[in-house]
């Protein structure tokens, strides 16, 4: 049985994750437990959601730098609505989600309609969303609404005694499942891959390139807003300085997850393992105790480097054969 070459990056990521888990379990006592692994998911639920949206953007050959700011904006708006205006969650959350989606769609429209570079448009979107946070509130708004705190602290027990997950972790898994369905079983998903492969050919094939491009950024904005909601479950506050640099973590997770930055190649499922690998690095450094926090960044940078170079070799290899 030979591994199909298109699965190689995904397999590399999964094996790296497994190797790191084994290393952690052997080196540190108490590492090998269900809860440590579930905590990876709980602590990074918002990142999974955001990175899934980013995967679609990167698959289509674009990039979205605004996600971190949109997460922050969502937390601020949500906190403001719930805490100061006493809105019901049933209304506040859909409002925040549609706001994120409209924000993304607007950037997608600019990119598509005026042939602007995704990098610079989403950069401006990043400034705009971050600035809007401060216009709404300069200080951190903590959420003390009883319904909200109950929801945030709910833990759902799984089969094993003591092993539990939060609502946002389940939300993240649902988003992932939805994204896998969209990417592989809908026309939208196939069009995204086609645009990333060759936009011009996609146009000539008569695919709905314009709508799909806008849709991709709308989806990313939606995921970022949903990530913001999950972030408030985690932090119980809205603040303009939340999630600074989250876009880099999301891009790193997507790349480590095996998606090619040139677009058209990759799997949403790999992004989950990209995020888990980033979380695993943090857990290992935490369990070790003697390493300082900045090692996280250095290790993530090194991993990015290794994966990018491997991808590059893989790409040239595929082209020559």
């Amino acid at each position: 049985m030979k591994l199909q070459s298109k699965y190689v990056p995904l397999a590399a990521t999964v094996s790296l994750f497994l190797a790191m888990s084994v290393f952690g379990s052997v080196s540190y006592t108490g590492f090998f437990s269900m809860q440590v692994f579930l905590n990876l998911l709980i602590d990074n639920a918002f990142l999974v959601i955001v990175a899934v949206g980013m995967t679609f953007v990167i698959l289509s050959g674009g990039i979205d730098l605004s996600v971190g700011s949109v997460v922050a904006l969502s937390t601020v708006v949500l906190a403001k609505l719930v805490q100061h205006f006493h809105w019901n969650l049933m209304f506040a959350i859909p409002v925040v989600l549609s706001m994120g989606m409209l924000f993304g769609a607007f950037m997608g429209w600019l990119i598509q309609r005026f042939r602007l570079q995704p990098f610079i448009v989403t950069l401006a979107g990043m400034f705009l969303a971050r600035g809007l946070c401060y216009l709404i509130s300069i200080d951190s708004i903590s959420i003390t609404d009883p319904n909200y705190t109950v929801l945030a602290q709910t833990r759902i027990h799984l089969w094993a005694e003591g092993a539990m997950v939060s609502i946002s972790a389940i939300l993240a898994l649902l988003v992932l499942a939805g994204a896998v369905y969209i990417a592989h079983y809908t026309q939208f998903g196939r069009t995204v891959y086609a645009i990333g492969g060759a936009e011009h050919s996609a146009v000539l094939m008569g695919l709905p390139v314009a709508q799909t491009t806008i849709g991709v950024y709308a989806l990313s904005g939606f995921c970022a807003a949903l990530g913001g909601v999950a972030f408030t479950f985690y932090m119980l506050s809205g603040y303009g300085l939340h999630a600074v640099g989250l876009e880099l973590d999301a891009i790193a997770a997507v790349v480590i997850g095996g998606t090619l930055l040139s677009g058209g190649v990759g799997y949403v499922f790999g992004t989950l393992f990209g995020v888990l690998t980033l979380g695993m690095i943090q857990s290992l450094i935490m369990f070790d105790g003697s390493l300082s926090s900045w090692w996280t960044r250095i290790v993530i940078g090194t991993l990015l480097f290794v994966f990018c170079v491997l991808q590059r070799l893989f790409e040239t290899d595929r082209r020559t054969t």
Binding site: L110, R115, R297, G301
Partner: protein, 355 residues
Amino acid sequence: MSKLTSPSLLARVQRHPLLWPVVTLVLILIVNASMNPGFWILQWRDGHLYGSIIDILNRAAPLMLVSLGMTLVIATRGIDISVGATVAIGAAVAALMVGGKLVITDGLPQHISRFPMWLAIVCALLTALACGLWNGVLVAKIGLQPIIATLILMVAGRGVAQLLTDGQIVTVYYPPYFYIGSGYLWGLPFALFIAAFVYVAMHLTVTRTALGLFIQAIGINPAAARVAGVRERLISMCVYAFCGLTAGIAGLIISSNVKSADGNNAGNLLELDAILAVTLGGTLLTGGRFSLAGSMIGALIIQTLTSTIYSIGVPPEINLVVKAAVVFVVMLMQSPEFRRAVRGWVVRPDIRSHP
């Protein structure tokens, strides 16, 4: 020049690439002067000029330097988002090597540096150059996309800077070092002279040699440039290395100005400001045509905008929204599709164009 062959002065001004950047800068300066009557006042105080304008020029110097390096990178169709991290690394190396402690010699308190200052500066600049070269190798030799190649250093670079400073803010106690960022020469900030020197050197290099043409050729069509015999990879690599070097100089100025190096915050978001300055100056992000003078003006626009927002009493948080609005306007004006669309809204379409 005879009047028949050359276009009128007005037409030439209208077509000049620096028209819009200069107009933007002048508009912001007018707003400033109307809001703040003392804006243009220059005073001679403590042996140097003193005033809002001087302050803006002094603060804009690091951004100018980074923007100059960034211009060349963008002209070759690249982008360097790691300059902020390079600034932090350069600043950390310089601050650590200069250090400085108080020693009493002959009854006089004196600050001495850990290593000679020139050595510290050379090492910091070499480190920054190495950072740039690393980016250049990843882009030109390995063939990574520029944004991703520089993302690696952007993520890891701050970690490296914090590793060097051990997560602390390194304070410098060596007065001669402060001259770089807050000293004055002939009544003007010394940092401005550094920026001006780099600008003039670059301007001469790209106009008096074929290098400017080569860079432009690479930006317009890398494959064609290679076929035409331009050593595309070597030039790209040097351009990234140079961008690292300018970021290193900016790091020296910034650390000398605040008398310390903070691995986490030095040069934070500087890459975005630099890209913005380059775009404002009329360099296209798609590569090719570039303007060093435009980038200098772009950096001045951003710094003046920031100073304006602080001085007219608007909450500084609005700064980001204003910047976003400026980026949106500038990039729309650069888009041929947008200009065509606007023409469609303003001018009534010809009957024949819609058969």
